[in-house]
């Protein structure tokens, strides 16, 4: 009797495992499960028929049945995992996309190169202990010239042809009036360390190197014991920060009515590194800004006793720096605002 059972059971097992191997997708697998392990399956029928057996047979058969059932269930799970993995692989393959197509657009604007230069310079001088202030663009003759030691009818006025609004009011020709305004605001307190970025205006014909409107960054330091060597040291630190650690500055004597001594400041040519090229006309140096020790008369007129305080001032053109830095050959490009030009500064 038990042999019959055993044979039958073995036959069911063998058949079930064979058909399981043939089930190739989730659907077939589910059908197999109902068929082999469900209530109406051969195994199910055998379980139900076990009621008529002796307790011993029932125990033996029950154990055998259970073993087969567990084996088949395990086989089913293994097969299921196998098929799921295969189906998932298929699905993933179907989901393959062209990763070389462009991504969804995130619009990117660009900071204007002049603003970029101003911000960088502000950051450098802020780290050197300077504060940043701004001043009016419409100035008085008094602040723009007279308090800077440029009286009326002084030949130095030719250095800066001026847009006047009235006899006394004008568009500032430089940011230097803020030297005086800053000293007036500080009312004799020290130290003074400011930089002043801003738009300035000169009656120049626009061409590749001139613009009737441009951007200056003024610097002013006033304290006891400020030396001309401090001017050089500060500008050298600035040059290294802006153009790299191998930079050096060279001072050349010059003249500005509001500084004494005055100098033009050169940098090692950013194009050739000092070897001499067309850009620096073979000299290895490029002029970058004007500077000097604050003129004693300017200090005195602004309420700082020139026998006690000294200081230095400098003024640089943001356009000039931008042109050097980005290889711009014509200053007008900075005011044309061609988006094909500006968008090149997206990453800058």
């Amino acid at each position: 009797m038990s042999d019959t059972w055993r044979h039958e059971l073995e036959a069911i097992r063998g058949e079930a495992l064979a058909s399981l191997a043939l089930a190739s997708d989730s659907k077939a697998l589910n059908e197999w499960r109902v068929e082999v392990l469900g209530k109406k399956s051969a195994l199910g029928q055998m379980s139900r028929q076990m009621g008529g057996l002796s307790p011993d047979d029932r125990r033996v058969l029950g154990e055998a049945l259970n073993r087969v059932r567990q084996e088949l269930e395990q086989a089913w799970r293994a097969r299921q995992a196998e098929i799921e993995a295969k189906e998932k692989a298929l699905r993933l393959e179907r989901e393959r996309i062209d990763v070389t197509l462009p991504g969804r657009d995130v619009p990117l604007g660009a900071v204007h190169p002049i603003s970029r230069v101003i911000e960088d310079i502000e950051d450098i001088f802020t780290s050197l202990g300077f504060s940043v202030v701004e001043g009016p663009e419409v100035e008085t003759d008094h602040y723009n010239f007279e308090l800077l030691n440029i009286p009326k009818d002084h030949p130095a006025r030719d250095m800066q042809d001026t847009f006047y609004l009235t006899d006394e009011w004008l568009l500032r020709t430089h940011t230097s009036p803020m030297q005086v305004r800053t000293m007036e605001r500080m009312r004799g307190r020290t130290p003074i360390r400011v930089i002043v970025p801003g738009r300035v205006y000169r009656r120049d014909e626009d061409d590749a190197t001139h613009s009737h409107q441009f951007t200056q960054i003024e610097g002013l330091v006033v304290d006891e014991g400020i030396r001309m060597s401090d001017l050089k040291g500060t500008l050298e630190a600035f040059a290294k920060a802006l153009f790299g650690p191998s930079q050096r500055v060279r001072l050349r004597p010059s003249y500005f009515p509001f500084t004494e001594p005055s100098c033009e400041v050169d940098l090692v040519c950013v194009s050739c590194g000092g070897a001499g090229c067309r850009m620096c006309k073979g000299t290895g140096w490029i002029e970058i800004l004007g500077a000097g020790m604050v003129h004693p008369r300017v200090l005195d007129m602004s309420g700082y006793d020139s026998s006690r305080y000294t200081g230095f001032a400098f003024g640089l053109g943001a356009e000039r720096i931008a042109m050097l830095r980005y290889g711009i050959s014509d200053i007008r490009m900075l005011y044309q605002n061609d988006l094909r030009f500006l968008r090149q500064f997206r990453h800058a």
Binding site: P136, R199, V221, P253, P261, H295, N337
Partner: protein
């Protein structure tokens, strides 16, 4: 200022320095040399020759065949086309193998059957700047003095073996506007003595000067005159012509050339009058009279003003002092007596006169920057000496000097501390070095222990203060000796303007959201602004450079629209741009106050918005702009309300003012189609913020509140309202209605629909309401009740009906 190397070398030993080295030394001492130009621009193997015979060319009317002696015994046959070729003339001859400027090489050539063994040259062919030569030297062959040795190289004899420095002098160094001044300077730079006389002896003629001089204006502190008689020679010698040419001064005739030559040598401008044109033998220096007119040497009639100084006789003006002489007293070929003037005039006045008449003479430039008072007499003596030597003139009487007593120019005395100087420069310049600087400059020094007394001669009027002496020391010792030192950092952290930080924040945000920053000109024109019709008046420039840049801008839109127009015209299909700039506002002009400068952020969206390449580009619209405004305001921590606004330059139905507590801080709107057309930008959207009002409201402070633990419930309502009802009104009404219950967390409009199913003149708004309380979960009944209340309020206020 141009300077001849050879002229300088006359007074100073320069043999060991090449012109390029000299230029470097000048530049590093503060006299920037822009260019070093050899006068000889490439003349080689051109010799002096004499035309012995001229006969016509048998085949060509305009050509001549010349027999030329170049000092070799044999005659050369040279074909020449110059009309002035004539026997007996000494001329430059380019021999075969010679080179001329521009790379021309001379060979034996045949001209219609006649071989030419060289070429006779004009000034132009020799590369000489003909604009500085008198007309007769420019037309045809350059005629050389007869006594030049035939066959010798023409270059030294033509004085072309010179080099010219083009100096870019700073306005304070008027002392270097002369050869003597430059020699003084070089003497200090090179530390070697100069060799010129400190003064020039007077002409030696005695007796009364036939000319009286009356000074009637304080603006002429000194006037000296010398009368000379007889002009036997009127042709300027070649050396002087060439020296003037090297210095960039045009040769005119001998008398005028001598005055210019002496001006270049001494820096003191001189003028020569025809003495017989001076009525009553009296020169009056006075202010011009109202309405007075004078024809100047250039043939122009000038309207004079009382601010100008004139040289006059008792009857009429004969010259504009220090600027230009009068035609009525000009030296002419018939002039027999010369009155030479050497004077000092007030520089500021000369400068104003030159500006008023748009004149800019060499004399004027020197007067306005200041001339050495000691040069007045010396220059007069030197010019007299040269006229006697070169023109065969005789001085008549002694010079007239007014005032009669010589004014001994007072040297400036400056007290100087070597230690303070070294401290100021930050470099330990040895005291002996400082002393040597001053000495080589010709400054007198009385050395004391701590304080020196430095006497500065009047020719260096730019040196007045100790700081000026520090500069002299620094530039002569060498700026390169100054080390780079660092200052102590201040204890207090720098206080920078908050506004600048906010501008940066705004710039960063806008760029991150796809806008490009632009920078435009602040000068514009009322025409360019007309489509915007800004309020107030445009502030005009007194002397604009062009019509389209003659007023200060009152609005940013015209500037941004110009950028958009330019880009649309240059293959850019669209973009979003912004600028932070100032506008200048005035209620009227002129007015008592300066124009108001208002910082404005302007933004413009124009053309098409390009998204993903697979999506179709679409025009920018109002909501693109508003979205950026919203985001920007959120970034600045500012809550605003949008209200319908009524700017004529914007689309009447697509614009809003942006308000905080009833105060307008900005505007956003689509351009009125007419405005878009006038700016040639089509459909575009503009937004602006008044930063002066916006920034004080900005806040970066954060106080976090706890995240509610109880769930929120969302209810979506679709209501039909008349088209004119703004969605914001429904939002506000819902908030107001439920404000006391404290259950409404958020309201958001998420759809607008018109069309099928919605009555004509109406729209359907889909609005989501989120209900939530912090302390407990709301019941459905509470929420239903709140929704009903909102619907009731909407119906009452706007006639809103729930859409079925």
């Amino acid at each position: 200022m141009r300077a001849s190397y050879k002229w300088l070398a006359e007074y100073l030993d320069l043999a060991d320095l090449s012109p390029a080295e000299l230029a470097d030394r000048l530049t590093s001492a503060g006299l920037a040399v822009d260019a070093v130009e050899p006068l000889n621009r490439g003349v080689e193997r051109v010799v002096i020759g004499k035309i012995l015979e001229v006969r016509p060319h048998p085949q060509a009317d305009r050509l001549k065949i010349c027999q030329v002696d170049v000092g070799r015994g044999e005659k050369l046959e040279i074909v020449c086309g110059a009309p002035n070729a004539a026997a007996g003339l000494v001329v430059p001859v380019a021999l075969p193998g010679a080179r001329l400027p521009g790379g021309v090489e001379i060979r034996i050539a045949e001209f219609r059957g006649v071989s030419s063994h060289g070429m006779l040259c004009s000034a132009d062919e020799l590369g000489i700047e003909t604009r500085y030569l008198p007309k007769r030297d420019v037309e045809g062959l350059l005629i050389l003095p007869e006594d030049l040795p035939l066959g010798e190289d023409v270059v030294p004899h033509l004085h072309l073996d010179d080099v010219v420095f083009d100096l870019d002098l700073t306005p304070n160094r008027s002392d270097c506007l002369s050869i003597r001044g430059l020699v003084h300077e070089l003497s200090a730079i090179l530390r070697r003595p100069h060799r010129f006389p400190a003064s020039v002896p007077g002409p030696g003629a005695s007796g009364e000067c036939p000319i009286e001089v009356r000074l009637e204006t304080p603006r002429c502190p000194r006037y000296e005159a010398q009368v000379l008689e007889g002009i036997a020679v009127r042709e300027t010698p070649l050396w002087m012509k060439m020296r003037l040419l090297a210095m960039g001064v045009r040769s005119i005739d001998l008398v005028v050339d001598v005055t210019n030559y002496v001006m270049l040598e001494w820096g003191q401008p001189l003028h020569a009058f025809d003495a017989d044109a001076i009525a009553h033998g009296t020169i009056v220096v006075r202010q011009a009279r109202e309405g007075e007119r004078l024809v100047t040497l250039d043939g122009q009639e000038r309207a004079l003003t009382p601010d100008m100084i004139v040289i006059a006789d008792p009857e009429k003006a004969i010259g504009l002092a220090g600027v230009m002489g009068g035609e009525n007293s000009e030296i002419t070929p018939s002039t027999r007596r010369i009155a030479l003037e050497s004077a000092r005039f007030d520089g500021a006045s000369i400068r104003r006169t030159g500006q008023a008449l748009s004149l800019r003479s060499e004399a004027q430039q020197r007067f306005e920057k200041g001339v050495d008072p000691a040069a007045v007499s010396n220059a007069l003596h030197r010019a007299t000496e040269l006229l006697v030597q070169l023109a065969g003139s005789h001085p008549v009487g002694a010079p007239r000097r007014v005032p009669a007593e010589a004014d001994a120019p007072k040297p400036t005395v400056i007290s100087f501390s070597p230690r303070a100087c070294a401290r100021f420069l930050g470099v330990d310049v040895p005291e002996d070095e400082m002393y040597a600087c001053f000495e080589s400059l010709g400054f007198g020094v009385a050395r004391g222990e701590d304080e020196w007394r430095v006497e500065v001669p009047a020719r260096r009027s730019d040196v007045q203060l100790p700081a000026d002496l520090y500069e002299e020391v620094a530039r002569l010792y060498g700026y390169h000796h100054i080390p780079a030192t660092s200052m102590r950092l201040p204890v207090e952290a720098p206080e920078s303007s908050d506004d600048l930080k906010l501008v940066r924040k705004v710039r960063r945000a806008l760029v991150d959201w796809g806008l490009c920053e632009v920078r435009t000109y602040a000068l514009t024109s009322p025409e360019a602004e007309a489509p915007v019709a800004p309020s107030g008046v445009a502030v005009p420039l007194l002397r604009p450079m062009s019509d389209d840049r003659r007023t200060l801008r009152r609005h940013l839109l015209p500037s941004l629209a110009e950028v958009a127009r330019y880009n649309l015209a240059h293959q850019v299909s669209g973009g979003a741009i912004f600028e932070v700039g100032k506008v200048f506002l005035a209620a009227s002009w002129p007015q008592d106050a300066l124009p108001e400068e208002r910082a404005v952020l302007g933004m413009l969206w124009f053309g098409e918005r390009e998204g993903h390449p697979f999506e179709r580009p679409r025009p920018y619209d109002f909501y693109d702009a508003k979205g950026v405004c919203d985001a920007l305001l959120a970034r600045l921590g500012i809550q605003v309300a949008y209200r319908v606004s009524h700017h004529a330059y914007l689309h009447p139905g697509r614009q809003a003012s942006i308000e905080v507590g009833g105060v307008m801080v900005g505007t956003v709107g689509e351009l009125h189609p007419d405005v878009g057309d006038r700016y040639e930008v089509g459909r575009a959207v503009y937004a602006e913020f008044d930063l002066g009002r916006l920034f004080p409201l900005a806040s970066s402070e954060v106080r976090v509140h706890s995240i509610p633990r109880h769930p929120a419930s969302r209810r979506d309502l679709a209501v039909v309202v008349p088209l004119g009802v703004e969605s914001q009104a429904l939002v506000d009404e819902a908030r107001r209605t439920l404000s006391e219950r404290g259950v409404l967390r958020m309201v958001r409009v998420f759809d607008v629909y018109t069309g099928v199913g919605v009555p004509e003149g109406h729209k359907s708004l889909a609005i989501a309401l989120w209900f939530q309380r912090d302390e407990r979960t709301l019941t459905d009944a509470e929420i239903d009740d709140a929704v009903k209340a909102v619907l009731r309020a909407w119906e009452t206020a706007f006639g809103a009906k729930l859409r079925s």
